[in-house]
């Protein structure tokens, strides 16, 4: 404010009128901008900053927003706010629990034997399982042009001419929008879309194993569709194939609010799939609407502009810049959970219990590919929450020796909050069990793997490369998932000793002993040459060098030489699929919170060599006893018996050591004090609706943290203005001089 005065006072006396004028203008400009907005560097408009708007970011452009295609977390972060599958995870509860979302109650399960007669769950030979879904009545889709009908009952926008198209760039450009009630047929339609091969749904092949009639249906409609395409010479993007005419034998629409899905045999995990976007309803009108060539040309497709029933609607989709969600005006009755607070959680999480969702009216996701601006903007208050990258880690978080983390004083001063949790994931170091050296099930081969497992010290790995953001894994099942056991009961006795209530990795001498017993004394082969093992990795980044040499060091402890073959990710995958690797690192994120989702990574039936490369058991572990237990465990519901079986399986795995049980990563997130109801739930994606923002606090802090520093401008102005006079003087002098002698300036070349 007092900028103007400052300028006036400091005006140099000798400067010309012109300069004074210029300075005045500049000063006024600064003065004006200084008044209108408190900060100059606010990347959003003032209105947005002053409203219930959540500012978030995405680092990778979402490629697919079509729920039957999308299968990556960055896409689900947006998609799950728009679409509503039948079920969702309870926001707060641990262990992760399913609850109805658009359903009136949890699906009702009926079992049938081979003769089609109803059976109990305990029946030894269940042939089918049937799920009955009952929808909540009165749920409306978001307002959308695809639903608009004219007076004659025809869809108004389903046959757009070029004239109408010329005014359309985005979905919101349509003048009229309408809605329709969500019915059972919409859920069934989504299933049919998934079956259409041309839609490239990633889970079609796995679902076809379970849903009765899906394989048959898929082949039939895909062929029919391909025929129609080649007859009409159209592409999949612009030709609508009416799926309403055909039915899947195992899926049945009963009435407006009820539908049934029939599963082959028993597959209790199916319910978890129903919380994923693949099973979200798709109105057929939208599918038909988006197949218009004129819209496809403008990148308006179901893949870019979703139509759902969720709390938000996507109003702007520019994957190169910004995604914007607005609250859905038609959103149904949905309230903040009133119970289920997990142990140790902040009780203030229940402050909003029972209130109608969502709280936040608008969400702006900005593209932020670089971690530097992301972190800076978070610190400036322009993002409400942030993850912690390893580069910003040690200025944000301090770790104590016991592994507990807390914020650094600088962060605490800003009022930043902090949450960390162990993710339901595992990062492991796998052996190829089909390999003649590290693979195999003989006692000697097993001992070699055990020796290596002791030698590769993942505690050290976690502290060096992850700043402690991980916990050492004892088996394949991560914490928070049924079958995981804490403390001594869960410890891997092959690699660890339980002393003083803590895990202690067995000393390297034991590994050496095991190695000798395995037939490689001091890491030498029988002929005296050192044992050489090969490790394949996709890590080729600048940081990976240190990591690879760390691995080499681990093997060197046993006298074994490790040869590293680093390639890019595509080629690495190729090699793993072809079982052409000896050792490799990989990871797995839970699709759903069931031990089956982790143990099936080691089930023989999924081994890559048994499935021609499409299986996910990359270690090719195939132990008949394990396989038998796995099949038994798979269909059980969580019970002490199931736990006992899982324990048995884990023990088998620990003895066989097909993986070096790496670690379960920890996610850390920071958020500002004005953001409320933050609770990490790695399986639930539709969590924006629970969040709330204290707008006043945000505005105040933002402006306090971002006051522009203006003295450099003043200095620069002084220098520029101050140099005008001497320059003029010098010029005059030169002119006088040059009249006397015709100057030939060649000296200037001599620099």
């Amino acid at each position: 404010m007092n900028l103007l005065l400052l300028f006036k006072k400091s005006l140099p006396n000798q400067s010309s009128g012109f300069c004074r004028h210029l300075l005045g203008i500049l000063a006024i400009t600064f003065y004006a901008t200084g008044c209108s907005a408190a900060t100059w560097n606010n990347p959003y408009s003032a209105d947005q900053a002053n409203s219930q708007t959540l500012f978030s970011s995405f680092s990778e452009s979402p490629k697919h927003l079509d729920p039957v295609v999308s299968y990556s977390s960055n896409e689900w972060a947006i998609l799950s706010q728009v679409y509503e599958p039948p079920l969702q995870y309870h926001y707060l509860k641990r262990p992760y629990t399913l609850e109805p979302l658009t359903l009136a109650k949890m699906p009702e399960t009926t079992y049938f034997d081979a003769k089609g007669k109803e059976a109990t769950e305990a029946h030894p030979a269940i042939a089918f399982t049937e799920y009955l879904f009952t929808l909540k009545p009165g749920i409306q889709f978001q307002p959308h042009p695809a639903f608009v009908k004219d007076n004659l009952g025809q869809f108004k926008y389903h046959h757009l001419d070029s004239d109408a198209l010329s005014k359309i760039d985005m979905v919101r450009d349509f003048k009229q929008k309408s809605s329709r009630e969500l019915i059972a047929a919409d859920y069934v339609y989504a299933l049919k879309r998934m079956a259409l091969r041309q839609n490239h749904s990633p889970i079609l092949d796995s679902m076809a194993q379970y849903i009765e009639g899906l394989t048959d249906f898929s082949e039939r409609v895909s062929k029919a569709y391909q025929m129609e395409l080649s007859v009409n010479d159209k592409s999949t993007q612009t030709h609508f194939f009416d799926l309403n005419k055909v039915e899947i034998s195992g899926v049945q629409i009963i009435d407006k609010y009820h539908y049934k899905i029939r599963i082959k045999g028993v597959y209790p995990q199916f319910l978890y799939w129903l919380s994923m976007n693949f099973f979200a309803p798709i109105p057929w009108e939208a599918d038909a609407f988006y197949k218009q060539p004129g819209l496809v040309e403008k990148n308006l497709t179901l893949d870019t502009s979703p139509v759902g029933t969720g709390p938000y609607q996507l109003v702007e989709n520019n994957p190169n810049k910004r995604m914007r969600l607005l609250a859905n005006p038609n959103y149904h009755q949905d309230s903040y959970p009133v119970d289920g607070l997990a142990k140790g959680a902040d009780p203030s999480l229940l402050n909003d219990a029972g209130k109608q969702l969502p709280f936040i009216k608008e969400v702006i996701y900005s593209l932020e590919k670089e971690s530097v601006p992301l972190w800076n903007k978070f610190l400036q208050g322009y993002y409400d929450a942030s993850g912690v990258s390893s580069d910003s880690f040690d200025q944000a978080v301090s770790v104590s020796n016991s592994g507990s983390m807390s914020l650094t004083p600088e962060m605490q001063e800003k009022g930043i909050q902090f949450l960390n949790m162990i993710q339901p994931s595992i990062m492991y170091f796998g052996f190829n069990m089909a390999d003649p050296v590290v693979g195999g099930y003989s006692e000697k081969q097993r001992k070699l793997r055990q020796a290596l497992s002791i030698a590769i010290n993942f505690e050290e790995y976690i502290s060096i490369f992850l700043n402690g953001r991980g916990v050492i894994a004892q088996g394949p099942i991560p914490p928070g998932i049924f079958g995981y056991q804490e403390g001594q009961a869960g410890s891997n006795i092959v690699l660890f000793d339980w002393v003083d209530n803590r895990l202690h990795r067995k000393p390297i001498e034991i590994a050496k002993q095991l190695l000798t017993e395995a037939g490689y004394p001091n890491g030498r082969m029988p002929d005296g040459t050192p044992l050489t093992l090969h490790y394949d990795t996709a890590a080729t980044g600048p940081d990976s060098q240190a990591m690879l040499s760390w691995y080499r060091k681990q093997f060197a402890k046993l006298g074994i030489e490790l040869v590293i073959r680093a390639t890019d990710y595509n080629r690495f995958q190729d090699k793993v699929r072809g079982a052409k690797v000896q050792m490799f690192s990989w990871g797995w994120n839970a699709d759903y919170p069931d031990p089956e989702n982790f143990l099936f990574l080691l089930y023989g039936g999924n081994a890559t060599i048994n499935t021609n490369g499409s299986g996910i058991n990359s270690a090719n572990y195939d132990n008949p006893e394990f396989n038998k237990l796995f099949l038994k465990m798979k269909t059980m519901s969580n019970s002490p018996e199931r736990l006992a079986i899982i324990q048995k399986m884990t023990l088998l795995l620990q003895q066989d050591a097909p993986w070096v049980w790496g670690y379960h990563p920890k996610s850390l997130s920071l958020y500002h004090s004005w953001l409320h109801n933050v609770w990490p739930n790695p399986l639930a994606n539709n969590t924006v609706k629970y969040r709330r923002i204290e707008v006043q606090e945000r505005v105040l802090k933002q402006s306090a943290w971002n006051q522009p520093v203006i003295w450099p401008i003043i200095i620069v102005l002084f220098v520029v203005i101050g140099s005008i006079y001497p320059l003029r003087l010098a010029y005059r002098r030169r002119q006088k001089a040059s009249i006397k002698t015709v100057a030939k300036n060649t000296k200037s070349e001599d620099i």
Binding site: N41, P43, P202, Q237, V742, A743, K747
Partner: protein, 325 residues
Amino acid sequence: MFAYIVRRVLFALPILIGVNFITFALFFMANTPDDMARAQLGAKQTTPAMIQSWKIDHGYDKPLFFNAESPGLAKVQETLFVQESMKLFAFDFGQSDSGRQITADIYERMWPSLAIALPTFVIGLVTNIALALLIVLFRGSTLDTATMMVAVAIMSISGLFYIIAGQVLFSKVWHWVPISGYTEGWEGFKFLILPIFIGVFSGIGAGMRWYRSIFLEEMNKDYIRTARAKGLSDIKVLFGHVLQNGMLPILTGVVVVIPTLFMGSLIMESFFGIPGLGSYTLDAINAQDFGIVKAMVFLGSVLYIIGLILTDISYTLFDPRVKLA
């Protein structure tokens, strides 16, 4: 003139075919269609059936240069290279590997690129010429020598330093402008200031030296000496004669870059998070999205050739002695 342009355009055809050939050959040496399908379909549980249907959908099921299964001429015609090249020549860029319409994307991302490149170009040109004129006034003096030293120093600093230093200083420490981002309209002004400033500043060294040498050359011509001997002041000579005559080499020199302004700046856009064509290209390289890479290479080549033709035309327009045969 018209005949000349037609001839040049016809000459451009074999060049563009050559460009396409290089692009296709290089890209498919590094990637197989299967890799591309897998990259698009995601890592979890990709089955051969899915890969096959993806390849058919995107036209990657055909062989690259030679189709042994087809009869006669179709051996060459029914190939990825011919099919896709034909589409490119019709400026039908089709869909990217991830399924978006490339033409629509290019149209949309062109504006942010221009919003940076055009002001940088114009302001840079004006600043450089103005500074060069100022320096020519003081030619041969210590000021001249010192400024030229500074100019060489400016040239000798990597652009990355300017960007990093600019972001740290102006955004992080002084809170003047947002560190990165972009919006349309006047709101977007604050995002553009820093990249434009850095673009102009880093170009000052080379630009100023070049224009200075042009003006000096003009200054040493006989008619200027006569004019100055008659007692005309330096300023009058500069603005009256030197600037006017110096414009010809300047314009013909810069005309070639004007079309390529569309392509945007790779580095600047990715540092500042500007959704232009430069970052589009860079992303496509990183994601190995062939659909976009081939479209951008083709577009870049076309623009370059247009630039060459424009240069030739500008010679005739500014200098009546040059005739295009």
